[in-house]
Amino acid sequence: MRGKTGRLLRGIALVSTLALGVTACGGSDDGDSDQKAVSQSDIDAALKEGGTVTVWAWEPTLKQVVADFEKANPKVKINLVNPGTGAEAYTALSNAISAKKGVPDVAQIEYYALGQYALTKQLTDLKGFGADKLANTYSPGPWNSVQSGDGIYGLPMDSGPMALFYNKKVFDKYKIAVPTTWDEYVEAARKLHKADPKAYITNDMGDAGLTTSLLWQAGSRPYKVDGTKVKIDFSGAAATKYTSTWQKLIDDKLVTPTPPWTDAWYKGLGDGTIATLATGAWMPANFASGVKNASGDWRAAPMPQWTAGDKASSENGGSSLALPEAGKNEALAYAFVEYANAGKGVQARIKGGAFPATTADLNSKTFQDTKFPYFGGQEANKVFAESAANVADDWSYLPYQVYANSIFNDTVGKAYVSGTKLTESLKTWQDASVKYGNEQGFTVEK
């Protein structure tokens, strides 16, 4: 056995040394473009010279933007890759960044996840490219979300000011008035379910995005971030407004546990068993493509308020385009991002069904006068634009919101399937988030 064992051991040693060596060669890359100033003429020069830019994005309207951009800049090639949606994309991005290989030059990052990458210095500060001049281009919610500390880490691509989509046909059938407050909403839920036990006011089985957006609207600010010091607290008065109202819906089984974005969910939206959706202004495109048979039945309305007479709103979803620190071709990458999110690309995307984050477009007459055939000709953009203007701009997400959202259903989900109360389960989420933050080196307190 001597020869063979020796050889086996030597083989293992060799391979492991290789593996170790390869990983040890990593080393931390110190940001070399922290405060690099890149002028417009630098960008123009880069465009003339050309090159390839890799863009990781799942936003379908970008396809057209890429085509237009390449036409306008014939020497530049854009490699548009779909890395998966949301959490999948962030996993891929984080993996690429840790492996220091295959990092894209541009990445689509939703607002809730942007803070995580910005705080850990994995994104290039766009102030050096002149992005701070774009402050007034964007509506308050998105613009706030792309900033972290002093820096600007992405350009807003679309936004999701919240609105209440409701099935007018169903509401008319049962003579339900469109709710203007959340208490009215609960009443409407009761009336609907009593009239038709198969129908529900909406579906909900626990969605981190919805919960945080509703807390935002209610005035709660559970996350306070100051550099690496974090405070998490779900017990404020505003948060209680949300939990007490929503608990009624759960307790009386007024919401159906259909998971969203499934076959059954589309069916429910189509046949009236799911009567409303409180979600972002990007939803119309999904209605049009996924629930064709209910065209004309639905309308958009302003979000119900927590306090009668208020005009509060919040954002739900929406993403930006950012430049990963480890990416290349920064000038070209920024040129593309600016084109797509502040330049001609915006119009192309609006045409494709995206909901913009730019105030000029939100307030433009043509935009607001657009009639939505799906909503029976309603000029729904007026509702959305007003909602966008009413978004409170002092909301923060956690610097590890992606992880926190991934355990949302493990913790808060319990409130939907067992007898646990929302407040209790939010506390469990809070505790788990605090634990993770501390494990990751943040200083987190409750």
Binding site: I12, L20, L119, F442
Partner: protein, 308 residues
């Protein structure tokens, strides 16, 4: 693997001259070399790297530090890990006997020669093996759906109120059902193949002794396929401990009941891919692997000792 008789030992051949033996010694390596080389790259290297990772901790703030066995002690105190381990153990104790039991019964039925359309049965029951887990879970996921799936339809049509397969009480069983569906046919075929090679002389002897069908099964068939039973059990056990594909794909429909720590493999996956906690994930995975190997070895020892 105890009744192994390498052919060389069974042959009464004079020892080949030394030069030939040496050449044969290393020639073997020439044939198995490619396999071992790729194996080292694809398996041994990642294991070593995994062990290395498990000794460190990489934080979002603070970077990479050596922490020795801290990850392991943390894992041993981790309620979520033990809960997931308990869950797959429970799964294992129920699903494996059921699946192998059905597989065995079908194999015996096929072997008895008393079925109409034996070949049709054999092929059809084996089919699910050819279906990818993604597709299988999709199909069953749809059928489990309460409002629009088959359960819902049946409830409407028959006025029954069957429980929701995706509720907390039933979801583990529902996953067990999918796994049983996928692999029962495969195990059936293994048992059937083993049954087919039982020498007919044994049956002739039984017939002479006047043994009935049941006696034949218990005295001849079952003992003869003991090895197959043990191997199938071991690999089903290993598979249960590694349960991942089905809960992960079904999770979209039941996010609140299938938590991210539902099975040990899913837990390590979530640690790595959701929380970027590669180091802790490596430690948990290694502990899991050790537990699996110990149990598989114990089962093999017990199974083989009873037989040989």
């Amino acid at each position: 693997m105890t009744t192994l008789q390498p052919p060389a030992a069974a042959e009464p051949r004079p020892a080949p001259p030394p030069a030939k033996r040496d050449r044969r010694s290393w020639t073997g390596w020439g044939f198995i070399g490619p396999f071992v080389a790729v194996f080292a790259l694809v398996f041994l290297a990642p294991i070593v790297y995994s062990v290395y990772l498990s000794l460190y901790r990489n934080q979002l703030i603070g970077g990479n530090t050596f922490v020795g066995l801290d990850n392991y002690t943390q894992a041993l105190k981790d309620d979520q890990f033990w809960a997931s381990l308990g869950r797959v153990s429970l799964f294992l104790c129920v699903q494996v006997p059921i699946m192998l039991g059905i597989a065995l019964l079908v194999a015996l039925a096929l072997d008895s020669g008393r079925l109409y359309g034996k070949s049709f049965f054999r092929i059809s029951i084996f089919l699910p093996y050819a279906v990818p887990a993604v597709v299988a879970t999709l199909m069953w996921g749809f059928m489990y759906g309460n409002q629009f799936g088959l359960v819902g339809d049946l409830n409407d049509a028959l006025g029954t109120s069957l429980p929701d397969p995706l509720s907390a009480d039933w979801v583990l069983a529902s996953i067990g059902n999918i796994v049983t569906w996928e692999f029962m046919g495969y195990n059936m075929l293994i048992f059937y193949s083993a049954l087919r090679v039982i020498p007919s002389s044994l049956y002739e002897a039984a017939e002479i002794d006047g043994a009935g069908q049941v006696r034949v099964i218990t005295a001849i068939k079952l003992p003869a396929i003991r090895g197959a039973l043990v191997i199938a059990t071991i690999f089903s056990i290993i598979g249960s401990f590694q349960l991942f594909n089905e809960p992960s794909i079904l999770r979209n429909l039941a996010k609140n009941t299938i938590t991210t720590d539902y099975t040990p493999n899913f837990y390590t996956y979530a640690l790595s891919f959701n929380g970027q906690q590669h180091n802790y994930s490596a430690a948990v995975a290694i502990i899991m692997g050790l537990i699996t190997m110990v149990i598989a070895y114990v089962v093999q020892l017990r199974g083989m000792r009873k037989g040989a």
